[in-house]
């Protein structure tokens, strides 16, 4: 009995230490971005907002088909934040080991800790941007609408989980097969950008086209978030179960893949 207790105690101590490490890393990451950015702490949040504004300007210029069910700014910011949250955590992990090489000098820090810290940082940044923009639009239009806050939070958390899972695998793949980074930068990332529903609503597309897009779980996340804002927003062929399934499967696979390859990540100069 006492042996089980000591095992549980040791595991709990390890978990607490990992929490401390991840929190320290995310705080350091935010501080570094603040110190290196031109606008300091403000710049960390303003940069994504400028991205949203640029895409909005592009949308107005090109006259993409709009939807009158949700305010266009909220509609756009939802897509941008969820897509960039995923790419910043999941796809940027391809460079994760190389980028954080110096920090592995401290033996207590493992590559997974840097991934978790990055997920926390990006989650905080894009979560704050989403909140600030939505509040600003509500203030501007004097109309507040968020029909299902629980669904919105759940979609956001599932997107972070999905990004973590992909990031876990990307850490290993990016380190062992550097050529994949090129394929992601010039191929996969662009495919994801155009199939994630940032520039269009799925229900506005003709039925036969939809199966070519609905394989992408990010499209489900984006459309479900919009549906959470206004329950009248139609989401044909979109499913929370699919998003949750993708998030949990990618997370489970990513962690397994990472844990079986962790030693390889630290075994080179």
């Amino acid at each position: 009995m006492s042996q089980i207790f000591s095992i549980v105690q040791a595991a709990a101590a390890k978990l607490v230490l990992q929490f401390r490490i991840v929190l320290a890393l995310q705080e350091r990451e935010l501080l570094v971005r603040t110190e290196k950015g031109l606008l300091g702490a403000l710049g960390v949040f303003i940069e994504p907002i400028f991205l949203v504004l640029t895409l909005l300007a592009l949308r107005i210029l090109v006259r993409f088909k709009t939807t009158d069910l949700i305010n266009p700014v909220i509609w756009m910011v939802t897509g941008v934040c969820i897509f960039y949250l995923f790419t910043e955590v999941g796809l940027k992990s391809l460079n994760g080991v190389k980028k954080a090489q110096d920090i592995f000098f401290y033996r207590r820090i493992r590559p997974l800790d840097t991934l978790l810290a990055s997920a926390l940082v990006e989650g905080r940044i894009f979560g704050s941007v989403l909140t600030v923009v939505v509040l600003a639009v509500w203030g501007w239009t004097w109309q507040a609408q968020l029909d299902s806050p629980g669904e919105a939070v759940l979609v956001f958390v599932l997107t972070v989980l999905l990004a973590l899972g992909v990031g876990g695998s990307a850490l290993v793949i990016g380190h062992r097969l550097p050529v994949v980074k090129l394929a992601v930068r010039f191929g996969i990332q662009r495919v994801l950008l155009w199939t994630s529903g940032i520039f269009y609503a799925l229900y506005t597309l003709p039925g036969p086209v939809r199966p070519f897009l609905t394989w992408n779980p990010l499209l489900h996340a984006v459309e479900l978030f919009r549906h959470a804002v206004n329950q009248a927003y139609p989401i044909p062929d979109i499913s929370m179960t699919y998003l949750a399934g993708c998030a949990f499967v990618s997370c489970g696979f990513g962690l397994l893949f990472y844990s079986s390859n962790e030693a390889l990540l630290l075994s080179e100069n």
Binding site: R20, I21, L23, A24, E27, R28, L31, V32, E35, K36, D102, I103, F105, Y106, R107, R108, I109, L266, S267, E268, N269
Partner: protein, 251 residues
């Protein structure tokens, strides 16, 4: 097998040692991308209570043994088993961020290696040992000169509690100096290492005499002799003379 290796004690198993190297090969890239082998199949272990100096004609080999034992550099072959909370080589934390202040860097490391309840105490110790001019503890590290940086790095190493300590040549503190700063470093070093195993590649014989009882001799990346510190020095001296006389005969 080289006849000099006969003097090396048989290596303990990994489970019995605080840290254990088994057939470790460490290579680095030198000028013109030439591979330099610093450790060549080293098998060795550090046990509880041992304070060991690493004697080597080539200091890079001694430092490589320290770095591999601390687990801060990868090895090309062999295995390193670490069964204790081993420090990084003192005075060498590489991953300090120049854009952040000394305090921010210290807080980051304190959160990883320090105790939550002793945060302010450990930060005060780092600040005191670094002996920086007024306000510099809250300045970015990029504004520090080399001496300030090396003092800050050593202060960081001395502030936390480790089971095994790795001591290379320390730029910030010369052993035996009588300045207040040196005395503070000596007091902190003695407090940090009290009753703990050490692995020392510091080349100063006075420092080795003060803190080590045993030694290993590295030659061409191999441990060729191991024993008491005076015996190892005598062996190293004999070997040097032997080589000189061999060189004289061949000429």
């Amino acid at each position: 097998m080289n006849d000099h290796t006969l003097f090396v004690k048989p290596c303990q198993s990994a489970d019995h040692c605080l840290l254990h190297l088994d057939g470790v090969i460490r290579e680095v890239e030198g000028a013109k991308q030439k591979k330099i082998r610093l450790l060549d199949g080293v098998s060795w272990g550090l046990q509880q209570g041992e304070r060991v100096a690493v004697l080597a004609a080539n200091r890079a080999e001694a430092d490589a043994l320290l770095a591999c034992s601390a687990g801060v550099v990868p090895v090309q072959a062999g295995a390193v088993t670490i069964n204790a909370h081993v420090s990084w080589p003192f005075g060498q934390p590489k991953a300090l961020v120049a854009a952040l202040t000394a305090r921010q860097n210290a807080v980051f490391l304190q959160r990883i290696y320090g105790e939550k309840s002793r945060r302010s105490q450990q930060l005060d110790l780092i600040c005191q040992l670094s002996d920086l001019d007024d306000g510099f503890f809250d300045q970015p590290l990029r504004s520090f000169n080399g001496y300030m940086k090396s003092r800050f790095r050593l202060a960081l190493s001395l502030a936390f509690d480790f089971d095994v300590l790795m001591v290379p040549k320390l730029d910030a503190w010369s052993y035996g100096a009588t300045s207040n700063r040196a005395r503070r470093f000596q007091a902190a070093f003695e407090a940090a290492t009290l009753g703990k195993p050490l692995l020392v590649s510091h080349p100063d014989p006075a420092f080795q005499d003060a803190y080590c009882s045993r030694a290993v001799v590295l030659e061409a990346g191999r441990i060729v002799f191991e024993g008491d510190l005076p015996a190892c020095r005598a062996w190293q001296k004999d070997r040097k003379q032997q080589r000189r006389s061999q060189a004289g005969v061949s000429q």
